[in-house]
C-alpha cells in the first residue's frame, strides 16, 4: 500500500496537469461499472471514490484547504442549488399548509431526538445542538441528483423536493441561532450575534431576489433565445456565489432563493438546457468526489456507534412524521412512508454549512470531525435509500 501511494504521488508530482482529467475519468468509470453491477446511485460511487483516493487514505486527491477548490465547490453548489430552487413552487406551499406544517414538525422532532441521542453519547451540549440543527436538513444535492437520474415524478418526488428546501432553510436558521448562542457565551452579546445571523440570512435571500429581478429586467430588454439562457444563468450564479463569499453571506441561501425567484418570474430555460445538461453531470462528479477528501478513516471508525444511532433516530422520526402528515393530506400511507425514507440523505450540505459558517476560535473542530465521520455513512447510504423509495413508489422512469 505504501509503495502504491508513493508511486502514485510521484507520478502526479511529475505530471500535475494530469491529476484532474485522470481522476474525473477514473471516478466516472468507477461509478458506471459500480452502478451497472449493483444498481445503486452513481453519486454513492463518486463519494466512495473520493474517500478512497483522499490524501488520508491512498490517493492523490488534494484536500479542501486549497482556496481554489473551495471556490469551485461553492460554484458547483450554487449551480445545483439554483436548479433545486427552480423546482420549488411557493404557491403550493402557500395553498397547501400541511406541507409547511409537516416540515416544521419533522424538523422540530428531528432536532429534539438528535440532541437527546448526542447527549446520551456524551457529546457536549453545544456540539449536540449543532448536530441537532444540521440533522434537520436533507441534502438538496443528493435529492436533486437522484430525482434527475431516476426521472421520477409523483407525490414522493414533489414532497421530498419541497420538504428538503424547507428543512434546509430551517436548519440554516437554527444553526445560525445556535452559533449566536455560542458567540453569546463567549462575548456576552446574544442579541447582537442573533441579529447578525438573521441579517446574514435575510441579506443572502435579498441578494438572490435582487439578482433574479435584475436578470428578469435584462431579459425583457434583450431578446435572448431560450436556449442561450442557461449560459447567462450560469455566469450570474458564479457571480452571485462570488459576492456572497466576498461579503460573508450564505451562497446556499442566495442560490436557492435565486432559483426559486427565477422560477416564479417564469424565466424559462430551453428543454435541453435544464439541469445545465452535461455540464451539471461533470460538476456532480467533481462535487461528490471532493467533499469526502478531508475525511479520515480513523475518525470515521471512532464515531461509528454515534453515527448509526443518529442515522436510525433521524430516519425513524422523519419517516413517521412525514407518513402521518402525508396521509392526512391525501397521499397513501405507503407513499407517505416512502417520502419520509427518501428524506434520509444529509452530509454534503452539512459539511458545506460547517465549512462556511463556523467562525474561527469557536472550538468546534471536535464536532466537525464527528459530524464528517457520521455524514460519510449517511452519504453512502442516503442516496441508495432515496433511490429505493422512488422505485418502490413507482415514480421512476424505467430505462
Amino acid at each position: 500500500m505504501t509503495l502504491f501511494r508513493w508511486n502514485m504521488a510521484t507520478f502526479f508530482i511529475n505530471n500535475p496537469q494530469l491529476i484532474w482529467p485522470l481522476i474525473l475519468l477514473a471516478a466516472w468509470t468507477f461509478a458506471e461499472v459500480g452502478t451497472y453491477l449493483v444498481k445503486i446511485p452513481k453519486i454513492t460511487f463518486y463519494t466512495l471514490f473520493g474517500f478512497i483516493f483522499a490524501k488520508h487514505q491512498i490517493g492523490p486527491l488534494p484536500t479542501l484547504d486549497h482556496s481554489g477548490i473551495v471556490a469551485l465547490v461553492n460554484i458547483i453548489a450554487g449551480l445545483i442549488l439554483f436548479d433545486f430552487g427552480y423546482r420549488i413552487n411557493l404557491r403550493w406551499i402557500w395553498s397547501n399548509k400541511i406541507i409547511l406544517i409537516t416540515s416544521i414538525v419533522e424538523s422540530g422532532v428531528t432536532f429534539v431526538v438528535v440532541f437527546v441521542i448526542s447527549r446520551l453519547f456524551d457529546v457536549s451540549t453545544l456540539v449536540s445542538l449543532e448536530f441537532a440543527a444540521l440533522f434537520m436538513a436533507t441534502s438538496p444535492f443528493v435529492i436533486i441528483n437522484v430525482i434527475n437520474q431516476q426521472q421520477s415524478a409523483g407525490q414522493v418526488t414533489e414532497r421530498i423536493l419541497h420538504l428538503t428546501a424547507l428543512n434546509c432553510i430551517s436548519a440554516i436558521f437554527i444553526f445560525k441561532l445556535i452559533l449566536g448562542y455560542a458567540v453569546f457565551e463567549k462575548s456576552g452579546s446574544f442579541g447582537q450575534a442573533t441579529m447578525a445571523s438573521i441579517v446574514m440570512l435575510i441579506s443572502s435571500a435579498a441578494l438572490g431576489i435582487g439578482f433574479a429581478l435584475f436578470l428578469f429586467g435584462a431579459l425583457k430588454q434583450i431578446k435572448l433565445l431560450t436556449s442561450d439562457r442557461a449560459v447567462v444563468l450560469s455566469l450570474i450564479i458564479i457571480l452571485l456565489v462570488g459576492i456572497t463569499k466576498a461579503f460573508g453571506l450564505s451562497p446556499i441561501i442566495a442560490s436557492l432563493i435565486f432559483g426559486l425567484t427565477i422560477r416564479h418570474m417564469k424565466v424559462v430555460m430551453g428543454q435541453n438546457q435544464r439541469n445545465f445538461g452535461a455540464l451539471e453531470n461533470i460538476l456532480i462528479i467533481v462535487l461528490f468526489i471532493i467533499i469526502p477528501v478531508n475525511l479520515d478513516w480513523h475518525n470515521l471508525s471512532l464515531f461509528i456507534g454515534l453515527g448509526i444511532a443518529l442515522f436510525l433516530g433521524r430516519l425513524i422520526i422523519k419517516t413517521t412524521v412525514v407518513a402521518l402528515f402525508s396521509y392526512c393530506n391525501g397521499v397513501s400511507i405507503n407513499k407517505g412512508i416512502l417520502t419520509g425514507l427518501a428524506l434520509s440523505p444529509i452530509s454534503i450540505f452539512s459539511i458545506l454549512l460547517l465549512d462556511q459558517s463556523v467562525p474561527s476560535g469557536m472550538g468546534l473542530n471536535y464536532g466537525l470531525l464527528m459530524i464528517t465521520g457520521v455524514t460519510l455513512l449517511l452519504e453512502l447510504i442516503g442516496p441508495c435509500i432515496t433511490q429505493y423509495a422512488l422505485i418502490m413508489a413507482k415514480e421512476n422512469t424505467p430505462t
Binding site: Y86, R87, N89, W92, S95, N96, Q151, A153, G154, Q155, E158, H162, T226, R263, K266, V268, Q271, R274, N329, G330, V331, S332, K335, K394, E395, T397, P398
Partner: protein, 371 residues
C-alpha cells in the same frame, strides 16, 4: 362472442368524457401523476367519474347522463373545480388541449392496468404516442338500429367537430401546421377510421362483431378506435373526433351542438345514408384536421365544395329551433362566438407568437382551464 342487446336509453340525453393533461409545474412537461390524483379523488365524493388512461400523464373524467345544456355545463364545472382543488393539493397542473406541445412519447409510462399493458404489448410505441387528449360525446339512442343510422348520418358533420374543437397544433416541440394533429395519432391504429356500413344492429352484432372477435383481433367495442362508434352497454353513439378543448364550457357547447344535430337528423332531415357518403370522408376529415375552420370540404351528396366555417354557420341556422326545443339556446350563442374567435389551436399559436415560449403556451392552457 356477440354483443347482445343494445341497451335502450332516453333519446338525446348526453354524456361527456374528457381526457386531460397532467403537467409538472416546474418544467411544464407532462407529469406521470395520475395514480396520485386518482387516489386522492377516490377519497372524496366526485361528481361524475374519473378513470386512468393509457399513460400515467393522463386522466379521463366523465359526466353522468345529462338531459340538457345547463345541467351538463353545471356538472362539468363542478368536476373542473374538484380537479383543480385536488391538483392544487398535489402540485400538479391540469389542462385541456389535444396534444402536449413538447412531450416525448418515449418518456411516457403505461398505466399499471392489464388492458393498457396489453395494448402496449400489442401496439408497441403506438400505445405511448397515444398520449393525446380527446373529448368523447355520447348521445342516447332508443335502439341499436337508430344508433347505427345516426352514426352513419353524422359522417357528413364529423369535420365540424374536428374543426371546432381543434387544439393540437404542436407535437414533440414543433408546429405541425395542422389544427388537430391529435387525430393523426389515432389514425395510426389499425382499427381506426369509420365504422363498417351496416344499418341493422342484429346484423352488426352477428356478422361483424362476432366474426371480428373470432379472428382474435378484438375483445370488446373498446378495441375499435372509430370516429363514431356505437356503445351498446350505454345505449349511445359516441363521437370521438374532438380534441379536448381548453375550457369545460367549450366542451359542453360542443356536446350540445351534437345533441341538436342528432335531434335535427332524426326528427326533421332523415337523410338517406349510403356507403357512397364515405367517398369524400377521409378528404373532408383531413381538411378539418389540417386547416380547421378554414378547411374546404366536399358535400358527399351534391359534390359542392364549401368552407367548414360557412357550413357550420348554415347548420346552426337550420338547427336553432331544435336547440331551443332542447333548451340549448345559450350554448348556441357561445358556439357562434367560438366560430368568430376561431378554434383553440389558433389561440395556442397566438400565445406562442406573443411569448416565443412553448412553456408559456402550456401555462396559458392551465390558466384557461381554471377560468
Amino acid at each position: 362472442m356477440q354483443l347482445g342487446k343494445f341497451k335502450t336509453s332516453t333519446p338525446y340525453t348526453m354524456g361527456v368524457e374528457l381526457e386531460l393533461q397532467l403537467i409538472n409545474l416546474s418544467t411544464f412537461d407532462l407529469s406521470a401523476s395520475s395514480p396520485d390524483l386518482i387516489y386522492l379523488l377516490g377519497k372524496n365524493n366526485f361528481p361524475g367519474s374519473v378513470t386512468p388512461e393509457m399513460t400515467e400523464s393522463m386522466i379521463e373524467i366523465a359526466t353522468d347522463v345529462m338531459p340538457d345544456y345547463e345541467q351538463l355545463s353545471t356538472q362539468l364545472h363542478q368536476i373542473r373545480d374538484k380537479l383543480v382543488e385536488a391538483c392544487d393539493k398535489l402540485n400538479i397542473g391540469i389542462c385541456g388541449g389535444g396534444t402536449h406541445p413538447f412531450q416525448q412519447w418515449s418518456e411516457r409510462k403505461i398505466y399499471n392496468k392489464e388492458r393498457y399493458q396489453e395494448a402496449s404489448r400489442r401496439y408497441g410505441y403506438l400505445a405511448k404516442q397515444f398520449t393525446v387528449f380527446g373529448q368523447h360525446v355520447h348521445i342516447g339512442c332508443e335502439s341499436g338500429d337508430i344508433a347505427l343510422y345516426l352514426l352513419h348520418a353524422l359522417n357528413r358533420y364529423v369535420p365540424h367537430f374536428i374543426a371546432l374543437s381543434a387544439s393540437s397544433p404542436y407535437v414533440q416541440g414543433s408546429d405541425t401546421s395542422f389544427n388537430s394533429a391529435r387525430l393523426n395519432s389515432v389514425f395510426a391504429f389499425p382499427l381506426s377510421g369509420h365504422a363498417p356500413f351496416i344499418l341493422n344492429w342484429e346484423q352488426f352484432d352477428r356478422e361483424y362483431f362476432a366474426r371480428m372477435h373470432k379472428t382474435g383481433t378484438i375483445n370488446s367495442m373498446k378495441d375499435f378506435y372509430w370516429d363514431v362508434r356505437p356503445k351498446p352497454e350505454y345505449g349511445t353513439i359516441e363521437l370521438r373526433v374532438c380534441d379536448t378543448p381548453l375550457s369545460v364550457e367549450k366542451a359542453a357547447v360542443l356536446a350540445v351542438y351534437l345533441q341538436a344535430l342528432c335531434h335535427y337528423i332524426l326528427e326533421e332531415e332523415r337523410p338517406k345514408v349510403s356507403e357512397e357518403c364515405y367517398m369524400v370522408y377521409n378528404y373532408n376529415r383531413f381538411q378539418a384536421c389540417r386547416f380547421g375552420l378554414e378547411g374546404k370540404i366536399v358535400d358527399p351528396v351534391s359534390y359542392q365544395p364549401i368552407s367548414i366555417h360557412e357550413d357550420i354557420l348554415n347548420m346552426i341556422h337550420k338547427i336553432e329551433p331544435h336547440a331551443a326545443e332542447l333548451k340549448s339556446t345559450p350554448a348556441f350563442k357561445l358556439l357562434k362566438k367560438y366560430i368568430i374567435e376561431n378554434n383553440d389551436a389558433e389561440h395556442l399559436r397566438a400565445q406562442f407568437a406573443k411569448s416565443d415560449s412553448i412553456e408559456y403556451v402550456i401555462n396559458n392552457a392551465i390558466a384557461k382551464f381554471r377560468q
